[in-house]
């Protein structure tokens, strides 16, 4: 999580700053990126049809700033990105809320579990492209298709995780609440939700990644705008720099969402747990005499 890295003394004396920097989280990330770009560059030497990092970077610059791509085609970025983001948020919202409700239902009632858990399991095994096809067949080339693709692919991941979380709530805490006559709503807010929060986050993480894949597919098949549509546009135009460029946008976005937004949220929700960890580290520090 976001606990600040704590410099505990290492057994052998650290050999110079470089090594230490390489081992630090930021250093490791930068190193990995440099290695990746180097390998990519090398690949273009072996396979000349693969667009190199510089070419792709240039393409993205033009696409984002709306400059000319040569000829009459101009860069388009934010309009596509905004469309996809809207559809994605809407689909994720529906998938998440319904997953949450169904998950709580399955987790707390054995009747609901008997009725629904197999269905959820089937949905879980359904690949996103099936939803992309089906929704396009049902709705044609409309906004519903990508939204529902996201919702359908996100839903079972949330439902199954939440159900598991609800089942894992300690019965002792439940009994304590009953004995003290704590109201149902208060129990839901302060016992069920926090106890399940970890599972909700796990479900949400999967849902976001799966849903994001789903929307790319759906827009690829049936979009008239959006990230998936634009990716296909460049693919169909035989402009691989465009294709690769958009794939990178696609990946960078999801990594940022995961690292920045979800990690922040999680750190906030689990303040009580981090508190303990921080404390533990402090104790360790005292013991080693820092």
């Amino acid at each position: 999580m976001t606990a600040a890295p704590v410099a505990l003394p290492e057994a052998p004396a650290p050999q110079g700053g470089l090594r230490r920097w390489l081992a630090s989280p930021v250093g490791a990330q930068i190193t990995a990126a440099v290695v990746f770009i180097g390998a990519w560059q090398l690949l273009t030497v072996i396979a000349p049809r693969v667009p190199g990092p510089a070419v792709v970077a240039n393409f993205l610059f033009v696409e984002i700033t709306g400059g000319p791509h040569g000829g009459i085609v101009r860069g388009q970025f934010f309009e596509h990105f905004a469309v996809t983001l809207q559809r994605f948020s809407l689909g994720l919202f529906f998938g998440f809320i319904s997953g949450l409700l169904v998950g709580i239902l399955i987790g707390s009632s054995s009747l609901a579990r008997a009725l629904l858990s197999d269905t959820v399991l089937v949905l879980l095994t359904m690949p996103a492209f099936v939803w992309a096809f089906l929704t396009t067949m049902w709705f044609g080339i409309t906004w519903q298709a990508p939204v529902l693709t996201v919702a359908f692919s996100a839903f079972p991941f949330v439902a199954i995780n939440v159900a598991q979380g609800v089942r894992a709530i300690a019965p002792e805490l439940r009994n304590m609440s009953t004995a003290f006559e704590v109201g149902k709503w208060k129990q839901f807010r302060h016992l069920t939700v926090p106890a399940v929060a970890g599972y909700i986050f796990a479900g949400l993480r999967f849902a976001i990644i799966i849903g994001w894949n789903g929307i790319l597919l759906s827009e690829w098949f049936s979009g008239q705008a959006g990230v998936g549509f634009r990716t296909r546009y460049w693919f169909d135009a035989n402009r691989y720099r465009g294709f690769v460029g958009w794939v990178i946008v696609f990946i960078v976005f999801i990594v940022l969402v995961d690292r920045v937004i979800l990690n922040r949220l999680q750190a906030r929700a689990f303040r009580w747990r981090d508190q303990k960890e921080v404390d533990f580290i402090e104790i360790e520090e005292e013991q080693v005499g820092l």
Binding site: L173, N175, M176, S177, T178, F180, W272, R273, K276
Partner: protein
């Protein structure tokens, strides 16, 4: 000043293994506890003590018979101290206190008062995970008192603690009880502890039946080292021998 009336209570659990016999946790108990009494329920492990408290608190339902817990005609408010602290790990000490009874400022004042009484005034903003086991248990005790219950149920609240902590918590408990004089049902399998704390000791035998009902007429608070207490402890321990005769020395 609650009134507890238990009539011909039985509780049977389904057999733990298929085809086995059902588990009789409570055989047939009739019992009345009333007034500002500190009553202990003593008995060997598995004789249905926790089950009895769970039925009284509404966590379990009786198989047959009736229980009623009232306070001048209306259903009584309960406080419960468990064997373990049972705090919500994601809420601070203060928020745990408010979880069971939150009536705004009054609730906070009350919570503060009872946390003070168990010596935890500095822990309001700490999470349970940052407290020692004994401190957590003290929060559990403060929480049960802070709802100002008509009846206080306590299920072996000190059995997980070391002897020194347990002794100091017993003193805390006696102080709290002397100040509030609730009706208390205190479960323990420690006869010595029961004699020090209670006005009345109800002894259960295996199979969930009442074996003995003893009144203890000594003033509160009682010190564990008081010779009168020690004498009584020895005598009552002797009565227990009748239930479980010790093997004759070789």
């Amino acid at each position: 000043m609650a009134q507890v009336v238990i009539k011909r209570l039985t509780k049977t659990f389904p057999p733990p293994t298929k085809g086995g016999d059902p588990v009789v946790a409570i055989g047939d108990i009739s019992l009345e506890v009333e007034g500002n009494v500190f009553a202990s329920i003593v008995g060997p492990s598995g004789c249905g003590k926790s089950t009895l408290l769970n039925i009284l608190s509404g966590v379990e339902t009786p198989t047959s018979g009736t229980v009623s817990v009232t306070e001048s005609g209306r259903p009584a408010h309960l406080g419960y101290v468990f064997q373990d602290a049972r705090l919500l790990p994601w809420r601070t000490v203060m928020d745990n206190m408010l979880y069971v009874r939150d009536d705004g400022e009054a609730g906070e004042t009350r919570a503060t008062r009872y946390l003070d009484m168990v010596g935890l005034s500095h822990t309001h903003d700490m999470f349970p995970g940052q407290l020692s086991g004994g401190m957590q248990q003290r929060v559990g005790i403060a929480r049960a008192f802070s709802v100002e219950p008509d009846l206080l149920l306590m299920d072996e609240p000190f059995s997980h603690l070391d002897a020194i902590t347990a002794r100091s918590l017993r003193d805390h408990l006696q102080e709290l009880w002397s100040a509030t004089r609730k009706t208390v049902l205190f479960v323990t399998h420690d006869v010595v502890e029961a004699v020090q704390l209670s006005d009345r000791i109800i002894v259960l035998a295996p199979g969930g039946r009442i074996f003995d009902d003893i009144t203890i007429d000594l003033p509160h608070p009682r010190r564990a080292t008081d010779p009168k207490v020690a004498t009584l402890q020895a005598e009552i321990l002797g009565r227990f021998e009748e239930m479980h005769p010790a093997p004759a020395p070789a």
